[in-house]
Amino acid sequence: MEAINFLLNGEETAYDGSAADRLLDVLRDSFRMTSVKCGCKEGECGACSVLMNGILVNSCCVAMGAAEGANIVTLEGFRKTERFAVLNKAFAATSAVQCGFCIPGMVMAAEALLSKIPNPKDSQIREGLSGNLCRCTGYNAIVNAIHIAAKEGNGLW
């Protein structure tokens, strides 16, 4: 079988393993993208969220075969952006990070949401994050952080 080729955080990448392997495992084990967390491995918790062609996906539910030709962005790539810097500041301001395990997925969900709706209403934020479970915060601090980011990052999204 030929290698599976895809863009990982902007770089041409080839994967030699099986097309049936999970994107989550490949990102973590083969490419050491350990920001991508495994919380359930069945698409329920969102801890492994990454962007695939700009769309938020649970990487545990993506087979490598489906990643052929795709543009995959993890937090390792996204954290170099200006948008991340704005989100970073906003999450810090509301102390939205507690145990931190859901955070990489949450940040990718925030990016996906703001890319689609640059100035979201409260209900749109809550809907946008509803696939990402957080057990620590009660979500208020995260929702507030995204409001702040939307305002401060005016024009970035």
Partner: protein
């Protein structure tokens, strides 16, 4: 806002935000063996034979015969085996572990192992349980007289179900044999010294031959209090046998089915009422321990001590039992026995009020304890009880009393509304004399020649903010910028035992020790020198000694207080309950960091709402947990409760740092009663609800039965 309460950027923010923090699953795989459990398929059986297939090179099977020391895990008692003894006592009990380089091969080997059992009849239900692990009894006053003179006697039973901690990072531990012969164990855990004590005994080695480090930990909530001691022992034995690092990380289903949860409970109340006031309570509390004792003794103690709620009940008799069933052993979860009994007592008071034809809050208000009153255990409420003002603040925030009256009127139509309120406390620190007699916390400050100060303590950052709040306290006393003071995850090789990360104690007890350490260092400070100072726990002078054999004295030096109001709308066609408003007013003393404390309050409050409403978990007829994934164990999402609002009422505690009290557990404890009372009011027609969680299915059953 006081200076110490001003929020700062959390010290662990940057690394976690950028995904750079290293959790136990994030270490390189090179040379690390994967460990997976061979688990019992039966709830109770004698193990006849375990047939292991020929193992490929580099693969090992590990079981009780490989334990160099005792096959007992030190928790409170030591009945939990590292690996199963001659019998298995619950479905999922670890019989052994298969370790090796490739996960797929480990899985294949596990599939090929044949276990022969001699099946025994399990005891699954609390109602049928006959093995009593712990049995406590205490009381005060004259019960006979109070019941004889009562105008009316009320009796009712209340049940609460499991709750799973559902930290986002599942349980995971790793053991690494070191070159000098020591064993290094690290992972996701709350109590490094608990693991240390347990592993020492299991490896049969001295305290210097093993050290434990907490990795960045993805949530605990009590779930990583005792459980990592068990898993830590299991990986340590495996690493010893393999002579190589072994890592075991649970998958989510394994974690939901086989790790400790909140104890399901059955509480019976018999209450005497005279002249519209409660004069006596006779309370019988039963907790389902599961198959081993783990932390049940101490969970039960806390549960029964608060079983009369925040009410001054002169005549009181309480019996509490923790019983064995052949199910997953239960353990610590935020609140630690208190959520169960607070639910029962609050609903009991509500139901008596309903019968007397007065509002539940008015009835409860007649009984609230005041400063100077006697506690359930004949100790004393030494400090002001702020509940009456907190009720008024909640009322102002959500217009509670008006809504309560309005929703009490007969309702018809598909959607019906209700509002409920509950009040509670949480005693911070170990129950009774535990801090003084068992924990004896020690902590240190290490000042380096360059003027930076390192905090040496054993409490783990698990999201609650200790890596930030501890340094805030020390920096303030030393008048240093916050970046000059730091606190790393503890390694028992480097830090003294300041006790476990439990019981809402870290900030209040250890935080105060650190404040004293900082004052000491300030007075001895010498520029350019390497200095170390130490402080040890000292019980405050005012505490009335607690005697566990009699359940008498101050069970806690002080209390954090909480008032919750929940406003709901029940859809009588579907049974679904929408939360219109969730209001919490919490007194945890001075917040050491406003944002951090609010994060604790909001997070705990939402966990409480989950416990009250959707987090249903049960086992099947064989004793196997059925709700083992996020699709059938439903924790709240961001879209479920959109209007959760918390406020702080500050009643300072003179023996906590700057007036701080314990905070972590408080916001969960009282929620179920407020929620269920709200649903009860929405359903109306005098229905009395007595179980939590109260799910949509439960609501539908009431609607069908009562023809609402």
């Amino acid at each position: 806002m006081e200076n110490i309460s001003q929020p700062v950027v959390k010290k662990d923010h940057e690394a976690k935000m950028a995904g750079r923090s290293v959790y136990v699953g994030d270490y390189e795989n090179d040379g690390v063996l994967v460990g997976k459990m061979l688990r019992s398929k039966l709830a109770r059986a004698r193990l006849s034979d375990v047939n292991i297939p020929p193992l490929p090179n580099g693969y090992f099977y590990v079981d009780k015969s490989d334990v160099p020391g005792d096959n007992h895990v030190n928790i409170v008692m030591d009945d939990t085996p590292v690996y199963a003894r001659e019998t298995v006592e619950y479905i999922g009990e670890p019989i052994g572990m298969v370790v090796g380089p490739e996960e797929a091969v480990v899985d294949r080997i596990l599939g090929e192992i044949q276990v022969s059992y001699e099946e025994l009849e399990p005891v699954l239900d609390l109602g049928n349980a006959d093995t009593v692990f712990f049995d406590y009894e205490y009381g005060k006053g004259n019960m006979e007289k109070a019941f004889a003179e009562a105008d009316k006697i009320y009796e009712e039973e209340f049940t609460t179900g499991y709750q799973d901690q559902t930290y986002l990072e599942t349980q995971g531990m790793m053991a690494e044999p070191e070159e000098n012969g020591t064993m290094f164990i690290h992972g996701s855990l709350q109590c490094a010294y608990y693991v240390h004590g347990a592993v020492m005994r299991v490896l049969g080695c001295g305290p210097d031959q093993v050290h434990i480090k907490q990795d960045v930990t993805g949530g605990g909530f009590g779930g990583k209090e005792a459980f990592p001691s068990i898993l830590g022992c299991q990986v340590a034995v495996a690493a010893k046998k393999a002579g190589a690092p072994v890592r075991c990380i649970f998958d989510r289903r394994e974690d939901l089915e086989f790790t400790s949860k909140r104890h399901p409970s059955l509480c019976k109340y018999k209450v005497a009422v005279k002249n519209g006031k409660v004069t006596a309570m006779d309370i019988d509390v039963k907790f389902n321990s599961g198959a081993y004792t783990t932390l049940s003794a101490v969970v039960l103690q806390r549960g029964i001590i608060c079983s009369n709620g925040i009410y001054n009940i002169e005549n009181l008799h309480v019996r509490g039992r923790a019983l064995k069933t052949n199910t997953t052993p239960n353990g610590a979860y935020r609140g630690f026995g208190a959520p169960q009994t607070f639910f029962a007592v609050e609903m009991m008071m509500d139901h008596i009020a309903m019968d007397l034809g007065i509002d539940s809050l008015e009835f409860k208000e007649k009984h609230i304890v005041k400063q100077g009153d006697s506690t359930s255990t004949s100790g004393k409420y030494h400090f002001p009880v702020p509940i009456p003002s907190m009720i008024e603040e909640i009322d102002q925030e959500c217009d509670y009393r008006r809504k309560r009256r309005e929703y009490a009127k007969p309702q018809t139509g598909r959607y019906r509304r209700g509002i409920g309120i509950s009040m509670h406390f949480h005693g911070a620190g170990f129950t009774g004399s535990g801090e003084r007699d068992i924990i004896k916390a020690v902590c240190k400050l290490h000042k380096y020649p360059d003027g930076t100060v390192e905090i040496l303590a054993s409490n783990g950052e698990i999201g609650q903010g200790l890596r930030t709040t501890f340094p805030k306290i020390v920096a303030r006393e030393l008048n240093l910028p916050l970046d000059k003071v730091y606190y790393d995850h503890p390694d028992t090789a480097r830090v003294p035992d300041s006790g476990p990360t439990v019981a809402s104690r870290s900030l209040m007890v250890v935080g105060e020790l650190l404040r004293r350490c900082a004052i000491k260092l300030r007075t001895q400070w010498k520029d350019g020198e390497d200095q170390m100072v130490e402080e040890r726990f000292k019980e405050p002078d005012f505490v009335i000694p607690f005697y566990l054999d009699k359940f008498q004295g101050d069970a806690y030096p002080t209390y954090a207080w909480g008032v919750n109001a929940l406003e709901v709308e029940v859809d009588t066609y579907t049974g679904l309950t929408k939360i219109l408003g969730a209001y919490g007013n919490f007194d945890v003393g001075t917040p050491i960091d406003y944002n951090i404390v609010m994060g604790q309050m909001e997070g705990g409050f939402l966990q409480g709402i989950g416990y009250a409403s959707t987090e249903y978990m049960d086992y099947d007829q064989k004793g196997r947990i059925r709700n083992n994934s996020f699709s059938d164990y439903l924790i709240p999402t961001s879209a479920d409760v959109t209007n959760l609002s918390c406020m702080l009422h500050v009643e300072k505690y003179p023996d906590g740092p700057y007036g701080a009290k314990g905070a972590g557990e408080l916001p969960l404890v009282g929620v179920p009663a407020a929620y269920v009372e709200a649903v009860e009011q929405a359903l109306g027609h005098g229905v009395k609800l007595n179980r939590a969680p109260f799910t949509a299915e439960d609501t539908m059953k009431v609607i069908m039965k009562e023809g609402l």
